[in-house]
Amino acid sequence: MITRVLRLTAAELLKLRAHPFLWISLVVVVFFTMTGAALGGPAPSLWRQDHAIAMFASGARIGLKLSTYVLLIFGSMLFAGEFDKGTIKILLTRPITRTDLFAAKSIAAMLLALFLIATVLYTSLAVGCSLGELGPVWDDESYNARRYDELVDHAKRAVAMSVAAVVAAVFFGVLVSNLVESSGFATAIALTAFLVGDEVLLRVFRDDMTRRFFFSVYPGYAFDVLRDYATGSSIAWKGAYVNGRAYLWVPLATVGACVAGGFGVFKMRNITA
């Protein structure tokens, strides 16, 4: 089975590499990440220059938000696109099982998500390090200097809080992709469901954002806090997110539910495309 999954993953990556939307979306994500990072300052450091970590946080926040949308779209097209074109029937009449194909597509989706995350993080870091200052930051509220290594620790925490959430987006798309047979329809449903979910939770839990258990909350929150740290504000990580590791289990639970639901539908459905 492992060999079949690896072969199919290679086939999925071949399709993905040749997909024009991948390169268009990559250019858009990189452009806005760079712009976001470059416009992330001014942040007051001891030397009154833009701080690299603040620029990194601004770029990453925008880049990861865009990546979430890109991954939702790609996830939505992953299976529905095969039904659209009818290619699902040529794949499933090869000596492979549906489990093999689902696993290969999930791996390809995960690799795409990790690739986009890495691209965003490295792009914003590169812009931050090129244009910004790497020294300590003056904390305006507590009147002391915040050390550079302390800021780096916060940056690592922000990255750790974001990865699973962005990966979850592609699996949210995968779930929707298995519910309909049109990639356009799947994309529209996934984006609408995502925006509505985000908006409803925002309104319901306006005063207590730690109860907004939706996977998309965490990257924005993490990089907002990081940016505040890097610009000298005394702001603490919320315990409900950090101590309870909600940033990890909420996205992972989302991935688990989406994979289980998507696989169940895919395994049982008749292929009439």
């Binding site: 060999t3 079949r4 072969r7 199919l8 290679a10 086939a11 071949l14 399709k15 040749a18 997909h19 024009p20 074109k85 009818g86 290619t87 699902i88 029937k89 040529i90 794949l91 499933l92 009449t93 090869r94 000596p95 492979i96 099982t97 008749n270 292929i271 009439t272 495309a273």
Partner: protein, 300 residues
């Protein structure tokens, strides 16, 4: 000969619609089997059940003597298929499309991709994106996808759709050649009954989800050849006389060159000749007419 495809009591329902009912079909090793039926008769649903794309509500499918569901990987390694319209990735080239299938199949050399595309007549366009292809070229690509794994069984659903006469002839020759030289078994569903008649050795006819006929083409048409073409003097008198005979079923007196076509039991042809002569009519020709598959199909 052993059966390459055998279905037993295969049934499939979509809600209240019973698409296929108790279908028992057998395709022997080395057959070119024509699968015929009107639109909506259940041909494609049957093919999809054979290939595991649709779950039957009852019955079982055996391929190469193995249960197709339990030994799916094993039987699909030896099977190629084109189901309904050809499916492809339009933003990829023909070579990339086949490369994806090569990876999905496993164990195939990469040189097979080019060889297969050349076999179906796409050798000159292998690196062009499929979205630039004509309908006929896309159909050829679909057939190439079915043939890529060098299968022992090929299932083709309307393989000559969208092909020009030259393309139809090319695909027909290729099917016959692969059958003869490599012993590939074909199951072909088509509406082009003439093509089926000259390509296939066996046919099955499905009607409203049930297999109503399954036989060799030669036997089927020999059984049904009850028509004779008569050339007689005093044609109008002959027609009136033939209509008066209760064992002559249909009489058409408006044939080419004044010929009369009559339908009767083949064993009574000599009796008919004697009756005409006894009536004083001079019979210059009495030629048995072979029914075409199309005529047979339309009569069912």
């Amino acid at each position: 000969m052993s059966a390459v495809i055998r279905t037993e009591g295969l049934s499939c329902s979509f809600g209240r619609l019973r698409a296929v009912q108790d279908l028992t079909l057998e395709v022997a090793d080395g057959d070119i089997y024509g699968f015929l039926g009107l639109n909506g008769a259940g041909k494609t649903t049957t093919i999809r059940m054979i290939l595991g794309l649709i779950r039957p509500t009852a019955g079982r499918v055996s391929l190469f003597g193995l249960d197709a569901r339990q030994h799916f990987i094993e039987v699909m390694t030896r099977t190629g298929a084109l189901v309904e319209l050809p499916a492809y990735y339009p933003h990829l080239t023909a070579r990339q499309n086949l490369e994806i299938l090569r990876l999905a199949t496993g164990g195939l050399p990469s040189s097979l991709v080019t060889e297969t595309l050349e076999l179906v007549g796409l050798g000159g366009r292998v690196d062009d994106r499929v979205r630039t292809y004509s309908q006929g070229m896309r159909q050829r690509l679909g057939i190439a996808m079915a043939l890529l794994p060098q299968p022992k069984l090929v299932i083709l659903d309307e393989p000559t759709n969208g092909l020009d006469p030259h393309g139809v002839n090319h695909i027909r020759s290729m099917i016959v050649e692969l059958n003869r030289s490599k012993g590939v078994t074909f199951l072909i569903s088509s509406h082009l009954l003439h093509e089926i008649e000259i390509t296939c050795n066996r046919v099955g006819i499905i009607k409203e989800g049930r297999l109503i006929v399954q036989d060799t083409v030669a036997h089927l048409l020999a059984q049904t050849g009850g028509a004779v073409r008569l050339e007689v003097d005093r044609r109008e008198e002959a027609v009136a006389f033939l209509r008066s005979l209760d064992w002559v079923k249909l009489v058409d007196g408006a044939g080419d060159g004044g010929a009369i076509t009559a339908q009767l039991d083949p064993s009574r042809r000599a009796e008919l000749n004697a009756a005409l002569v006894a009536k004083g009519l001079r019979v210059s020709a009495l030629v048995p007419q072979k029914m075409t598959l199309e005529e047979y199909f339309l009569s069912r």
